[in-house]
Structure formats: C-alpha cells, structure tokens
C-alpha cells in the first residue's frame, strides 16, 4: 500500500517534470596513411544520448553512449577489438539540487576541469575513451560515480566558490597499446578494481575578466600502469594487469582577458604515492605539468591558441630491473606514462577557421609538437561540412610522427585519414 501512496504523492511533481533530451548518431572510418589508405585503422559508430529532467528544484541528468569499434591495431583488456566489439557505457546518471549558497549532486558524473585548450593536467577526475580515435571531446569523456557539494557564499553571488568531491568508483583512460609495443607476447588482464575512493577539493575565484582556481586531489592516475600478473616460459608470454596508481595532486588554473587576447595557464604537481619498483621505469614518478599560452581571434573568422607545454620529473632516476621481463614491462610503462625523458618541452597550437560567408564549413587544426630531445608530434587537421542544420560530414586526420622512443612517435602506425558523419538531434 505504501508504494501506490508514494506514487500518488509524487504524481503532481512528475506531472510538472520538464524533460529535455538530445543526442548524436555517428559513424567513422579511418584508414592507415602508411599503406596509402589500403588498411583499416578503425571503424567506429554509435549513439550518444543525453537528457535533463527537472522536477521542481531537482534536476536529473543522463548521458549514455553505445558504440561499435573495430580496430585491429589496439589492445584493450578483455576485449577483442580486432574483430569488433559493441560497448555501452553510462557517462552520467545523477541527481542534483541548488538551494541558496549550496549546490549538491550525486551519481555517475562527468567533469571537465582545466582552462587550457587540448591538454588539461588538472582534469584529475576524468578518464578518456581513447580507443575511439575521435576528435569529439563529448564522445571520449568518461564518467565516475561521485558525490559533490558546492558552496558559493552570498546565495551564489560571491566570486568565491568551494567544491568538495568524493568519488566512489573512478573512471579510466585507455592506454593506446599496439602489437609492436607488446611484441605479441603480452596478454592484458582485467584492470584492477575501480572501487577506490578519491577526494578532490576545488576553490575558485571568478574576478572581473579573470578566474583562478586551485585543486587538491587525492586519488588514482587514470592512465594505467601495467604490472606483471603472471608469466609462462613455454611458449614465452606474460600477463599484465592495468593498475591505477595512487597519487596526490595540486593543480592551479588561471584565465584572464587582456583586452586583445585571453591568457590561459594550467599547472599541476602530481606526487605518486604508490610506486611499483618492478613496473615503473623511474624510481620516483612524481611529476610537474604545465600548459599555458594565449588565445586570440582575428576578423571574426580565425581563432588561434598557442600554448607552451612542459612535463618534468624533478627526480629522474632509472629504476633497476631484475630480469628481462621486468625490463620489458618497465619499457612498456615508460612509453605509456611518458617516462622516457626527464623534461619534455613543446607547444600546442589550435587554429580554428569559420568563414562568415561560407557558414557551412569549418576548419580546425591541432598540432601538439615536442621538440629538443624528443622531437615528436601529433597533427590533427579536421574539415567539417554542415549538410543540414543537423547533419555534418567530416574529413580528418591523425598524424603521429617521431622516433620509437617517444610516445607519439611509437604510434606512427596509427596515423590515419578518416571520414565521418554525425547527425545531432
């Protein structure tokens, strides 16, 4: 009897619910540039759905993604992507409420922290669906099971704001591994359990024309480290477990309008509190990351963002390896976690061209280039053509270059040209 009564009580609220929904249907085909487009790099396609429901002062959010991906080159635990897999994931399923100074939200959520463009070292909570070789941030961002409380004094009018996050199940970033990196003798186990608590405290000050935030993070690295699970001698093979190492991070962001341009700066110091002697390539993997630069528009049609990129391990000492297998694992992790150099310096250029007279086309160029000892880069040119208000065709490329020792260079075989279509509703 209680349930029907409860339902009847909720009925007026449900009747006043405002539901807003939308989504995207997409498909992409990528071919290897190395073999003059004869070989497939990846086929992907799927449906992205999102909805927002508002009942009185309570809001419910949903964001789900179902996709098919076939990619002969990439290795992922427990999945055979070489013959294609259908995967369904929920990015968001949460409930929230704002009241006065306070805002609360709980459930599966996505976050997008960081003021820099393209690379965000302070985006501590977000894992990326990297197996989808896409340039669409909305489709690659993963959710985490969390609770969040935000306090903004003066009923929300204060420039100060504090957020506290508790994550019950963290998200993961796919490490891009191919056969060449694993020499065909590695099998990936299921990743270590994701039910490890994470905490983050974020303080923001939004001034007039500028904003600053500081984040303290205590959680895990979203990009896994591969730890030996077991090995067999005949035939020689070993099994690795993707493991998310515990770490603490301090991150700062600054964005400011300087009339003619906008300055963006983002920096993080990440102190790895969990070190794996037989897996980490260096003995102390604590690191400093910086991305910062300026953004400027020209004549309504051009937007350029130039950012310097620096990664640095303050204590860089190569770890000893007990045997050849350990040395192999450490080399693999050197690649995955970019531990091959103490300091990496480069730039990230983002150029966007949207002609006002030909409003159906858009050109975007992203170029991440590391120089000095590393000399490797990832160039992603992208051309969009709007067929109708909802239907968009896309031509794009993912061009990796550099030496085998550099993470971007080691992915040279993934260099591809892609064609895609997406329908938004």
């Amino acid at each position: 009897m209680i349930r029907p009564a409860l339902f009847l009580l909720c009925l007026p609220a449900l009747a006043s619910a405002e539901v807003d929904w939308g989504g995207k249907l997409w498909g992409n085909q990528l071919q290897k540039t190395k073999t003059y487009l004869e070989d497939e790099t990846q086929t992907n396609g799927g449906l992205f759905l999102k909805s927002k429901t508002k009942i009185e002062d309570v809001s419910l959010r949903f964001e789900g993604i179902g996709y098919y991906v076939k990619t002969p080159l990439l290795l992922v635990p427990e999945k055979d992507l070489s013959s294609g897999e259908a995967i369904f994931e929920i990015n968001e399923l949460n409930v929230g409420h704002n009241f006065g100074d306070w805002s609360v939200r709980a459930g599966q959520m996505t976050t997008s922290w960081g003021k820099a463009d393209g690379l965000n070292p302070t985006d501590f909570l977000t894992g990326k669906r990297n197996i989808l070789l896409l340039t669409d941030d909305q489709l690659t961002r993963r959710g985490h099971l969390s609770g969040m409380v935000q306090w903004t004094p003066q009923g929300g009018a204060s420039p100060w704001s504090v957020e506290q996050w508790v994550v019950g199940r963290h998200s993961r970033t796919d490490a891009l591994l191919n056969e060449e990196l694993t020499n065909g003798v590695v099998t990936l186990e299921a990743p270590d359990q994701q039910k490890r608590l994470e905490f983050a405290t974020r303080m923001t000050y939004a001034g007039q024309g500028w904003e600053f935030d500081y984040t303290y993070f205590n959680g895990v690295n979203k990009t896994p480290l591969f730890v030996e699970h077991s090995r067999t001698l005949i035939p020689f093979s070993f099994r690795l477990t993707p493991t998310h190492a515990r770490q603490q991070g301090h991150g700062v962001n600054l964005v400011s309008d300087f009339e003619d341009y906008v300055v963006r700066m983002e920096a993080a110091y990440i102190n790895r509190t969990q070190v794996f002697d037989d897996a980490d390539y260096i003995t102390d993997p604590s690191r400093f990351d910086f991305v910062g630069g300026i953004e400027k528009s020209f004549q309504d049609e051009h937007r350029v963002n130039v950012q310097a990129v620096v990664h640095h391990y303050p204590n860089y000492e190569v770890a000893p390896s007990a045997d050849q297998v350990t040395a192999g694992i450490q080399k693999l992790n050197r690649f995955v976690l970019a531990q091959h150099l103490q300091t990496r310096v480069g730039y990230l250029l983002v150029y966007l061209y949207e002609p006002t007279e030909l409003n159906q086309i858009k050109l975007k160029l992203t170029w991440l280039n590391y120089f000095h000892r590393e000399s490797s880069s990832l160039l992603t040119p992208q051309f969009d053509y709007l067929v109708t208000d909802n239907l968009q065709l896309q031509l794009y490329g993912l061009i990796f270059s550099g030496s085998d020792n550099a993470p971007l260079g080691a992915l040279r075989d993934l260099s591809s040209a892609g064609i895609g279509a997406n329908y938004q509703f």
Partner: protein, 265 residues
C-alpha cells in the same frame, strides 16, 4: 501690425513640434528602453549573401543591475542541435569592463570573449556582441535634432523622427565596438529608435538596423519584437525576433551568476 505679428509668432510656436536637445532625446530614449526585467523566446535568422540560411531559437533573460543603468543578459540556445544548450552571458559595465562569457556544453567549459572581440559576430549573425548589449549614453556625444520622416518603411508615414548623430567620446572604444559613429532616427511618439546606421572605423556606413513591432512592457517602457540588421557591404542580413514577452515573473538574480553559467538547470 504689432498685434498681427504677435499672433503669427504664437501660432508658429504652437504648430512647431517641441524641439529637444539631442542629449535630452537620448535620455528619453534610454528611459523608453529601460526594463527592470524581461524574459522572452527568441529566434535568430541568418540569411543573405552567399550564406546558407540558418535559424536558431533561444530563450532570453534580461535584468537591470542595481545601478539602474547596466543590464545582465543571458541567452540560452535550443535549436539547432549543434548549438543546443550553448549560453552567452553579458555582464554589462562601464566601457571595456563589460564581460561576455560563453558556455560550451560539448566541452563543459566557459570561454571568456576577449574585450577586443566584443565587435565580433554574435552566433555567426550580423549582430555583434556589443550590438546585443544596451546602448550606453555615457559613451557618446550626441548632436542634431532635425525632424524627418521616419525612414523605416513599416513605420507610419505620418510619424516624425529625430535624426541624431552619436560619436564615441573615447576614440579607443571604436576598436572594441567595431564602429566609429552611429546615426539614429528616434521616433517622436515613444522615443524608441526607428533605424540605426553604423559607420565603421574608417567612417564608412556598413550596417543598418531597422526595429519594428513595438510592445509596451511597462509604464513608459517599450521593447522591439523584430530587429532587422543588414550588412550593407555584402547583402547579408539577420532577423532577430522575440515573442512570449514576460516582464512580470521575477527572474532570480542567480540566473546571471558567472559561477552558475551552464549549471543552472
């Protein structure tokens, strides 16, 4: 003879319309435009020239700040799907202190529009960001009060307009606003603008704004439901239409808080 001349003089004084100074007329215009708050549904149609016709729908909220001069304005887009949930927040302030922030739902991030880009296109239309903000009288020197027939073809031919020239007090503002001078035709019945001509930084006429379909939204205050901005250099034009005007329902101040941009659902 003296009596005759006195009668003639008095008749002439009665027949002639009241002559106001340009600054007085623009003060009346400011008073006529003054809204305490307003919520409306909107549609923006981009067409003309070599462009593909595009139509975007949105909800629009505007609220007068406590200083009684500047406004906060929030525009949230609904269609097409490519711009769904995008929001643009205008926090007006003196001169170049006006802030414009864009919420990009795909990236879940807020982007600051640099001050120098306030003359940039508003959602790929012929309106600039600064055209969307309210005209600030303190930024201009006004001159002229010539009475002419109102130029807008939909305005009754019997209606007269004051022709006023507005030049920027601070030439540096021309860079930010994208124009050096305005020519305004202000209706003499309700003191709302009938047409505005925009002159670029070289002093050349480049845009024309016609405003029609006036709705009274308060005591002595009015709002245009239909704005037609034409780019005279390339034939492109944009129509901005408002409907479902609501000036009665209170808009919470939190609607315009920077920290809530994109999160206020």
């Amino acid at each position: 003879m003296k009596l005759l001349s006195t009668v003639f003089f008095m008749t002439a004084a009665i027949a002639a319309p009241l002559k106001y100074d340009a600054n007085d007329i623009m003060k009346k215009n400011e008073a006529a435009r003054k809204l305490t708050q307003l919520q409306a549904s909107g549609k923006i149609v981009i067409d003309g020239g070599s462009r593909k016709r595009q139509e975007k729908t949105f909800t629009w909220w505007r609220q007068l700040q406590p200083d009684g001069v500047h406004y906060n304005t929030l525009t949230k887009f609904h269609t097409p799907a490519t711009v769904k949930d995008q929001a643009i927040l205008f926090l007006e302030a003196d001169g170049d202190k006006t802030e414009i922030l864009m919420w990009l739902p795909t990236f879940k991030k807020t982007r600051i529009v640099e001050s120098s880009q306030q003359n940039g296109s508003f959602m790929a239309s012929d309106f600039s960001f600064s055209d969307i903000t309210a005209l600030q009288n303190e930024e201009y020197n006004y001159a002229g009060n010539e009475m002419t027939t109102c130029p807008n073809t939909t305005t009754p031919k019997t209606l007269q307009c004051y022709k006023i020239t507005a030049t920027l007090k601070n030439p540096k503002s021309a860079e930010r606003l994208g124009y050096s001078k305005l020519q305004l035709w202000i209706r003499n019945d309700n003191h709302m603008s009938d047409r505005v001509h925009y002159f670029d930084q070289a002093g050349k006429l480049f845009k024309e704004l016609d405003s029609t379909q006036i709705t009274q939204v308060g005591k002595g205050s009015y709002f245009f439901n239909h704005l037609h901005m034409k780019n005279l250099t390339n034939g492109q034009f944009t129509v901005l239409e408002f409907s479902a005007l609501n000036s009665k329902t209170a808009i919470p101040a939190a609607k315009f808080f920077k920290q809530r941009l994109g999160k206020d659902d």
